[in-house]
Symmetry: C2
Amino acid sequence: MSLPRAKLVKNFPGCPVEATLSFLDGKWKGVILFHLMQGTLRFNELRRKLPAVTQRMLTKQLRELEESGLVSRTVYPVVPPRVEYKMTPLGTTLKPVILALAAWGEEHVFCSPEAASEGFEACATALQS
Amino acid sequence: MSLPRAKLVKNFPGCPVEATLSFLDGKWKGVILFHLMQGTLRFNELRRKLPAVTQRMLTKQLRELEESGLVSRTVYPVVPPRVEYKMTPLGTTLKPVILALAAWGEEHVFCSPEAASEGFEACATALQS
DNA sequence: ATCGACAGTATCCTTTTTGGTACTACGTAC
DNA sequence: GTACGTAGTACCAAAAAGGATACTGTCGAT
């Protein structure tokens, strides 16, 4: 049973915790969802909010979120391209979970000053709500 | 309280959501915490609760949980060995988070029986609400 | 004529994570 | 004297995840 985590839910009998985590698994999904929780965003808007993620990674994470039904992707056939990412109704049901995660992080996780001065504050500032 | 600061400084992407997720990252941490939430467990008790995890993986995940301060490991110098795993005070502060994860999983994640019997492929599906 | 914004792909490479199997030591029970 | 339960290690291989860089095409502005 060497399958990616996202497909392994059956391996956790009676454990919905891992089931939920499998939807959030991926280096940037948590932040992405947090930002989308606050409103629809275009691809590059999201990119600017996550300066450390590469284009390739952002695309990949978004596609996975789309595939799992948490985020919708709407392409407007215009030039230049316009693509909007938005939480689906299912995605919004995750809000309490994300808020719980954020609350715990804020209370128990401390960010070193070095990390903050190295360009990560863009993520941190958007997290107030 | 022992703060997992060293680890955080290295891995903290700058977002409290991701920060919290980084503590839960690892294929089995969610389930492990879920079980330990219900009480202290010995190594092999935990193993029996997670039939699919190998000894090596279980050890590894437990050591990581210990290192991040969520779980404590107590060795009793007896023969045969007796090692007890237990949530730390910091670990118990995660309870609301774990419960939120569990609640969402129970409400939105389903595993189709056919897929389950065929193997483990893609049996996790989220239902639109 | 060239540049940048837009939303990505394609290709290659490195790192991290996970899995499989075998092995340890000690004591007790059969 | 052989197996079982305890709590792990050590070693090797496979798989998955993540990163770096370069490239696409159209348009509007400079």
